[in-house]
């Protein structure tokens, strides 16, 4: 027995030691200390603490092709070794850690013991922090990259948010926040999912293929509205977000569908301009922030509460389930067909679904309007922060706002950056512009491998075009109608391989694909002209870029199914997810902090989440409890009776 005790105790001790060790290990790996090589002296050593969401910054990942050092390391290297940096020749360090949700970030700032210099919460949480006087101003002149390269349209969303301090002072968000990533909340759906119960008129007269096509068209048509989520045709195939703000935004929009669509009609008919249109949507969209006693037309009073709750319960009866991150995988594996999704997740799911079984998913930003959200960097107030540390924090913001670094981040994370500029333009072209693929062809040749076996090798090469006497690489401008290069028609397109020139359009064994260079020339309706000048305007050098450079030609930007809505189609592919066009952006609004309504909205959500206690369950429950009580009473009374009898017998025995 004793031996056993020792064994148990010592194993507990070992476990404890091991867990303490792993705890210490995991802690160090979580809080990444980027220290300088030599131990620095106090005074010339500056360190900052940065808190971000998980997987929300470029990290070295050689397996997946991200071969550069972590962005944080690159920053330290830049700050210490670049003559432009104010910390040139000094020692700096960044301790980078992660946090899950905006709420936990808020708690970390509010109750945490360590000083946080930069933190990256979502829009409404920044507004809340600002309203509670927790933030320090960030002068954008100290973040010149953000000032110069941030997309003006996107940053105007941020600039229009205000917060009121308890003292009544109104602060503007733009003085306190440097935007990081943004996106929309829309509906991701699979148009070929076969569990929908779609009814098509005259279905018996159509062939099977026609029927399929009609169904697909119907789905795309329906999914341009939030009401599709309530539609019994899509019963049990939808998953929505298990988070208050996202789901309430959708329910609000569905409930006010009629008003929102009438605003849209006014806008399309030119009765109101885009600012008026947006502000009208905004009034409905942000009704949750208006207390019941406010004089606004749309507010969160008992009538609205009832209506919203009714819609919520109805929605709950029509869905597959609630989720926060399983949805993007479920739609790939075919558990669901429709998912309320953030644009970044939608991009991820689209590429996954295509890799999985070549399914094409679409993303819709419904015509009623949608939620545009952003995450931004703020600096919590702290008395222990030195001027140097503030400077270094601003330098960090400047570094990640550099278009070149923003490009790395976007490439790695998949969300859309606030930063525009040349590098981002190039990245989008590389990802989505159809012309990019026309600039390359494939050279095929046979080679011998290590074992002396002959293998066929394909290598991508850049197409060259004759410019005067010389050959140069094709350029995007060569494809534009107004500056059309005659050489393209002369079929004098070459490519270089092993110092030899080959003719592209010459049909022989050396290449497989042919360039189709008339793509933008004609009224080719297969390609969409996507004008992103709203995003890039003012961030590109004017001597190098014209308006036409901000136009992209993409294959699946919109899904074309509805000729009646030429302006502002609502459904598109992955390019549309990441960079919606201006028509879409106009109907998007930022959802503000609920303010004093917060606790009523929490109650509403609790009521919704606690669910129904079905009648059969209540009856069964009561029956079981009664049965248990009955058995207990039976045993207790039986025991009492037998006890009494025993006593009696004992007495009798004594007496006799």
């Amino acid at each position: 027995m004793k031996k056993n005790n020792i064994l148990v105790l010592s194993s507990i001790a070992i476990l404890l030691g091991a867990s303490a060790f792993t705890f210490a290990l995991s802690n160090t790996s979580k809080v990444k200390k980027v220290a300088s090589a030599s131990t620095p002296d106090v005074g010339e050593y500056t360190s900052i603490n940065v808190v971000n969401c998980a997987d929300y910054i470029y990290i070295k990942d050689v397996e997946n092709g991200y071969e550069e050092e972590d962005l944080v390391d690159q920053f330290v290297d830049y700050a210490e070794n670049n003559p432009n940096s104010p910390f040139y020749g000094k020692h700096v360090s960044v301790s980078y850690s992660t946090s899950d949700t905006p709420e936990s970030m808020y708690n970390e700032v509010k109750t945490g013991k360590t000083r946080i210099d930069l933190i990256c919460p979502s829009d409404y949480m920044i507004q809340k922090m600002l309203g509670e006087g927790m933030l320090e101003e960030i002068d954008r002149d100290f973040v010149p990259n953000y000032r110069d390269y941030c997309s003006p349209t996107i940053s105007s969303f941020l600039d229009n948010i205000e917060a009121t301090l308890p003292s009544g002072e109104v602060k503007k968000l733009e003085d306190y926040c440097v935007g990081y990533m943004w996106g929309t909340l829309g509906i991701l759906f699979n148009p070929t999912f076969n569990n929908y119960k779609i009814e098509i008129e005259n279905a018996d007269q159509l062939s099977e293929e026609e029927l399929e096509a009609a169904k697909e068209e119907q789905i795309i048509f329906d999914l341009r509205h939030y009401s599709a989520l309530w539609d019994k045709q899509y019963d049990g195939t939808i998953s929505i977000k298990n988070s208050i703000r996202d789901t309430l935004a959708v329910v609000d929009m569905k409930h006010h569908e009629e008003q929102l669509l009438s605003f849209r009609e006014d806008y399309v008919n030119g009765l109101i301009d885009k600012d008026e249109y947006n502000s009208r949507i905004n009034e409905i969209f942000n009704l949750y922030s208006n207390p019941a006693d406010s004089d606004k037309e749309y507010k969160f009073d008992s009538g609205t509460r009832e209506a919203i709750y009714k819609e919520l319960i109805e929605l709950k009866g029509n869905i597959f389930g609630l989720e926060v991150d399983s949805g993007k995988n479920d739609i790939v594996t075919g558990k669901i067909g429709i998912n309320l999704a953030w644009s970044g997740d939608a991009v991820y799911a689209m590429s996954q679904a295509y890799d999985y079984d070549e399914t094409t998913l679409y993303y819709s930003v419904p015509e009623e309007g949608a939620n545009i959200w952003f995450d931004g960097w703020v600096m919590p107030k702290n008395n222990n922060r030195t001027a140097d540390q503030k400077l270094l924090a601003q330098e960090f913001l400047n570094f990640i706002s550099d278009p070149e670094n923003a490009k790395k981040n976007m490439d790695y994370i998949g969300y859309t950056s606030f930063i525009a500029g040349e590098d981002i333009l190039g990245l989008i072209r590389e990802w989505y512009d159809y012309r990019t693929s026309e600039m390359y062809t494939t050279h095929v040749y046979t080679d011998t491998d290590e074992k002396g076996k002959e293998v066929e090798v394909e290598e991508e090469v850049t197409i060259l075009v004759k410019d005067g006497e010389e050959y140069r690489e094709l350029d995007y401008s060569d494809f534009l109608t107004d500056s059309h290069n005659d050489a393209l028609d002369d079929e004098e397109l070459m490519y270089e391989f092993d110092d030899e020139l080959y003719n592209v359009l010459n049909e022989d064994e050396t290449h497989k694909t042919y360039a189709d260079l008339t793509i933008v020339d004609s009224d080719d309706s297969e390609l969409f002209e996507v004008d992103l000048s709203y995003f890039f305007d003012g961030t590109l050098p004017t001597d190098k870029y014209q308006a036409s450079d901000m136009i992209f030609y993409a294959e699946d930007y919109y899904v074309d199914c509805d000729d009646e809505h030429p302006d502002g189609l609502a459904v598109g592919g992955d390019f549309y997810c990441q960079y919606p066009d201006e028509e879409t952006i106009i109907r998007c609004c930022i959802m503000q902090d609920f303010g004093e309504n917060n606790k009523y909205i929490l109650e509403l959500w609790e009521d919704f989440k606690s669910g129904e206690f079905p009648t059969w369950a209540i009856i069964l429950f009561i029956a079981e409890v009664l049965a248990a009580a009955g058995v207990a009473i039976y045993f207790v009374s039986k025991r009492k009776i037998s006890k009494n009898q025993r006593k009696k017998r004992k007495l009798e025995a004594k007496n006799s």
Partner: protein, 273 residues
Amino acid sequence: MKSNKKKEAKKTRRFFSVFGIPYAVFLILFIIIPILIIVYYAFTENGQFSISAAASFFTSWAKWKVLLISMFVALQTTIICLLIGYPLAYFLANKKFNKNTVLVTLFIAPMWINFVLRTGATRDLLTWIGVKGGRMPYFATLVGMVYNYLPFVILPLYSTMLKLDKSLMEAASDLGANPFQVFIKALAPQTIPGIVSATLMTFMPTMSSYVISDVLSENMITLFGNYINTEFGLGSWNTASFMAMIMLLIVGISLFINLKFNKDKEGGRTQLW
């Protein structure tokens, strides 16, 4: 001589008590201090004494509903587990039916795989055979719960059944009791400690579990554990702490009941805990 022996024993005991220190540290660090923190948050708001968390719990029908639903799910899980586990444990413990212990190992084996992984697989399996968790949230949750907690029912019952006094049952049937009477009068009373500890091992964890109901009911059922988690996520630490305290209270009550049964039965050390 005798006193010398006593001294020796005392010395040994003192020596061995050193090994208790790690556990004492563990106890204080991970059990006592967290409980104190919970109690602190349950009765304060922004650092001031307040009963607003208690008030918000007792006045909210939603929270009571969640508590009742959790109790309902926990009770069903326990009953189903016992219905399946009791005869199973009997057969497993009976040498006539179970020649070696391989079968026992098979039934206990799922315990060795992390339940989050198993729950994910269960979800895939259920959707594959056409059970949509969001549509039949109670059914899906109960399937997951029973699957997960069945080993915890079998194990204590199995260990009590191993020690069954079979002569009692033989005597009962020899004296003319029918099989049902044998079960009620001779078998069941002997296994009560096993039943009680199996019940406790299932009922309490089911109430506070949240991964299983989250995953299998597609977040359509909220159990008490889910609710505490949600409240923490939303930043209302005080309410969440108060609810955690209610949970602790229920654990306390059930431990008390367990103790009572322990006292009734002499040598009731056959239980797992």
